[in-house]
């Protein structure tokens, strides 16, 4: 009867520690995504149609 809470406690501990891990180690994939977004803007690589829209709605995350 006590195995379920134990299992959940272990799961929670694992989850929490993995979240901490993500924040300590460099998030390479997120950095790549951020870099791509900035480079697209600086070099104006992504043309959103022909309308001159400097504030793109999908950029507001």
């Amino acid at each position: 009867m006590r195995t379920l809470p134990m299992a959940m406690a272990v799961l929670l501990a694992a989850t929490v520690s993995s979240c901490v891990t993500i924040n300590i180690y460099f998030p390479a994939a997120a950095a790549e995504k951020a870099a791509d977004k900035i480079i697209d803007e600086v070099w104006q690589l992504k043309k959103q149609g022909d309308a001159p829209a400097p504030a793109k709605p999908d950029e507001q995350k």
Binding site: K37, D40, Q44
Partner: protein, 140 residues
Amino acid sequence: MYSQIFRLWMLVALLWVPFLAFAAADLEINTPAIGSLKMTMQQRHDQLAGHYASGAVGLTRDGLIAMRDAALVPLAQRQAVNGLVAAENQDRRALYREIARANGHPEWEEEIRTTFAQRWVQKAASGWWYQNQSGAWVRK
């Protein structure tokens, strides 16, 4: 009774997991400092694009740019292009530093710079020059 409360508490705790995962998925890049750096770099790019294409200016392996072949720039313009390169590098350094700081990890600056170095090259137009890992200039 105890185990029911415990289970409920666990359920509430687990409900936060997707939120935490989402929060960790993106780097913060929407700060005023980063925004204004992006804007000045975007404006400067109009002046630099021709020099990337001619091969006068190339992308360095450390995420900056450099005058690769000054002879490709008319003498009268050379100083102005050097100024552009210096200003661009100053902004790029500030950009990498700001992204690291905006995410609460100033020590990430070098890794962010390395990431950018690869992505600039990846997104460069063909014909542009970049430095490979050993520092040699390569035409894309």
